[in-house]
């Protein structure tokens, strides 16, 4: 089970396994989420190159993992603890591009109130998306605690936690998997094995043949899936979610894929990624494969898909425009949310800060209003 790579569509979109039963509507939502992610990435790359945002994370190549996994969750009760490379999860569940752009710009409408870097999303609606952290791996035990809380209350909610191949070396992988294995937590561990952790290749990250092989160390069943096959990802995640909901405990899923862009907008992968490797993986593109199948099954025509493409491009352009137009968060947001109630020393610093910068004529937002 841990050795075979689960696959439903081969790289050309031919069926090699049994596709899951999914309505046309859901299939097209999945497709749209993939296309949205691509255009969001493109837009962010442009915004970063023109200095409008500082940073972003390309998803190119791994979109099927995010989208296939997200589609297996029930937004009314489940929790997602994503990696920073999971934009497709948000799109699938209906987070708006504008809201995500708000985070990219760190403007007043950003859910993290301009405190975090771009790509560190946080949502409670339309699905609970854990506030993303930069330190790698910390969200694994958290996802375990979250699902355990649900289990203790007798709810059948599950948490899905997503992380990279590099993330398997973190403390959180070890403690999260260990606690989940012992406590039978209803958590789905999804490793996006995209072959690289920034510049570190898989074989310098772990001596293990596969990531899936790591499950046994914790008594957690594991499965490997072709991460560029959105239907296969959906299917294995759905099985894991069902197991978790039924009280059968955690599952580890290794989705084998490839990071086709740089690590981030600041990275130059040509310094370390062999060209042949990129070339080879280009033939396995997750979007092309899925589109070929959608067309061959009669779920969509290629004209319809082109319209989706144009639509998503436009969606991202206007989302960026809207987010860019918003003001930055007001000065007092530096000081709020440190605690539920603001302690006196922090309040004093806030008052001093506002007084100081207003006496300098600064701290005034783009709209010309004093930002408080």
């Amino acid at each position: 089970m841990t050795d075979t790579l689960q696959q439903i569509l081969d790289p050309t979109g031919n069926k090699v396994g049994k596709p899951p039963r999914l309505s046309k509507e859901v299939l097209l939502r999945m497709h749209r989420a993939i296309v949205q992610t691509r255009h969001f990435d493109d837009r962010c790359m442009k915004l970063q190159r023109t200095g409008k945002i500082g940073f972003s994370i390309p998803n190119l190549g791994i979109e099927a993992v995010s989208v296939g996994a997200a589609a297996a969750l029930d937004a009314s009760k489940d929790w997602i603890a994503p990696s920073y490379r999971d934009f497709g999860m948000l799109f699938f569940h209906g987070v708006t591009a504008e809201s995500m752009m708000d985070t990219q710009f760190g403007n007043v409408d950003d859910n993290s109130v301009g405190r975090q870097m771009p790509v560190h999303f946080s949502y409670r609606e339309p699905i609970r998306v854990l506030s993303i952290s930069s330190p790698i791996g910390t969200h694994l035990p958290q996802a375990v605690g979250i699902s355990l809380a649900a289990k203790k209350r007798g709810e059948d909610a599950v948490s899905l936690v997503s992380f990279g191949d590099g993330g398997t070396s973190s403390l959180g992988f070890h403690s999260g998997m260990n606690f989940a294995g012992v406590l039978g937590a209803p958590t789905v561990f999804l490793c996006q094995n995209n072959q690289w952790a920034i510049s570190c290749p898989y074989d310098k990250q772990t001596g293990s043949e596969t990531i899936a092989a790591k499950g046994e160390a914790y008594g957690i069943p594991a499965v490997r899936v072709d991460g560029n096959d959105v239907l296969a990802v959906y299917k294995v995640v759905l099985n894991a979610v069902k197991r978790a909901r039924a009280g059968e405990g955690p599952t580890l899923i290794e989705a084998v894929t490839m990071r086709m862009g740089g690590h981030s907008t600041s990275d130059d992968p040509s310094r370390y990624v062999p060209k042949e490797m990129t070339e080879e993986w280009k033939t396995k593109d997750p979007r092309k494969r899925f589109e070929a199948w959608l067309i061959s099954e009669g779920h969509a025509t290629s004209e319809e898909l082109e319209i989706v493409d144009a639509d998503c491009a436009e969606e991202m352009a206007s989302a960026a425009k809207a987010a860019f137009a918003k003001s930055r968060p007001p000065l007092d947001t530096i000081f709020s949310d440190v605690y539920a109630e603001i302690p006196k020393h922090v309040a004093d610093q806030r008052d001093w800060c506002i007084g100081h910068y207003s006496s300098r004529g600064e701290g005034v937002d783009e709209k010309g209003e004093f930002p408080l």
Partner: protein, 326 residues
């Protein structure tokens, strides 16, 4: 009311809240059937079952990380770290995650969690069963840090900490666990966080202290009164973060002579913040140097620990120096 030791008061506090609030859980190493290595959770699993008080694998990162998740999803975990010296594997989960969750999520997610841990010297624990790491956590916005010094405060502050909506590190002076007993109110006894306690009144000088140093400073103040008639105020800070800075400044201004006492090393210790606060906001009231009586800037020794830790005589010496300064 019952006469309880400090560790019994902690135990009573835990059980009292667990009876009131079903969302309160206990997790940690050996907290279950064994009742914790100091018996702070004695009988908790027996009364509330394994679902609500359970042993974990040997991983502080897991204890706190899972605790953060439990707290984010409606539970109120009390995480025990067996000795404060073993909290460091969880440092990232505490300072990067628990402390920053509310802030980074714009208030969407919060971590109402208590981390209980015994700290301090005096039990021949050597380098790794004696440390006082409060300063590490007090430099971490988003955390609250509480240290009781009496049984009644231990219960009252612990209940307030559990009810607090933010993560609280609750450090218990293990040297005082069984040092004495006092009457501890029954039921949901609360002591407000961020309030100090005047242990002894006085206006000639003031000693700021907390935890196991409180009885040491009390003894020092008593002996100074007996030996030279000076009235030395002793303030138990109780909550180190957020500190009641006004109370500290007021006492410093009223007394004009200040000594700060803790077991931890001096350099960048918690005492330096108290000194700095006063030097920044009340230096014009100072009639003497602001003295610190602390552990030394070395790791914690074993055989010679009683020479490492401040005792009443060392406090008296410092107070006398401060009183005699002109």
């Amino acid at each position: 009311m019952n006469e309880l030791t400090l560790v019994q008061a902690v135990n009573d506090g835990i059980k009292t809240v667990m009876r009131e609030d079903e969302s309160v859980l206990v997790l940690g190493e050996d907290v279950g059937p064994k009742g914790g290595v100091f018996l702070a959770t004695d009988g908790v699993t027996a009364e509330f079952g394994e679902e609500r008080c359970f042993d974990t694998p040997l991983s502080e990162d897991g204890i706190i990380g899972v605790g953060v998740g439990l707290a984010m999803n409606g539970m109120k975990p009390i995480c025990e770290i067996q000795f404060q010296d073993f909290i460091f594997p969880a440092f990232d989960q505490i300072v990067s995650e628990a402390a920053k969750m509310r802030y980074r999520s714009g208030g969407q997610y919060t971590v109402p969690m208590v981390i209980r841990t015994p700290y301090g010297g005096g039990i021949r624990g050597g380098l790794y069963h004696s440390q006082s790491g409060e300063a590490y956590f007090c430099h971490t916005p988003g955390m609250k840090v509480v240290i009781p010094s009496t049984p009644a405060d231990a219960k009252g502050l612990l209940i307030s900490a559990i009810e607090d909506p933010d993560p609280v590190l609750f450090m218990e002076p293990k040297a005082l666990y069984r040092a004495s007993r006092e009457e501890v109110p029954d039921g949901m006894h609360r002591v407000a966080l961020s309030t100090v306690r005047e242990v002894v009144a006085g206006n000639d000088a003031v000693i700021f202290c907390y935890g196991a140093m409180v009885p040491v400073c009390l003894q020092a103040a008593n002996r100074i009164r007996e030996e030279r008639g000076s009235e030395v105020r002793v303030i138990d800070l109780r909550t180190l973060l957020p500190l009641d800075e006004e109370a500290v400044l007021e006492a410093a201004k009223e007394c004009g002579r200040v000594v700060v006492v803790h077991e931890a090393p001096r350099f960048c210790g918690y005492g330096s913040e108290i000194s700095a606060l006063i030097a920044e906001n009340a230096i014009e009231y100072m009639e003497a140097p602001i003295a610190r009586v602390t552990g030394f800037d070395t790791p914690f020794p074993n055989t010679l620990e009683h020479y490492y830790m401040p005792d009443a005589r060392r406090v008296i010496d410092a107070v006398e120096r401060v009183l005699e300064f002109e």
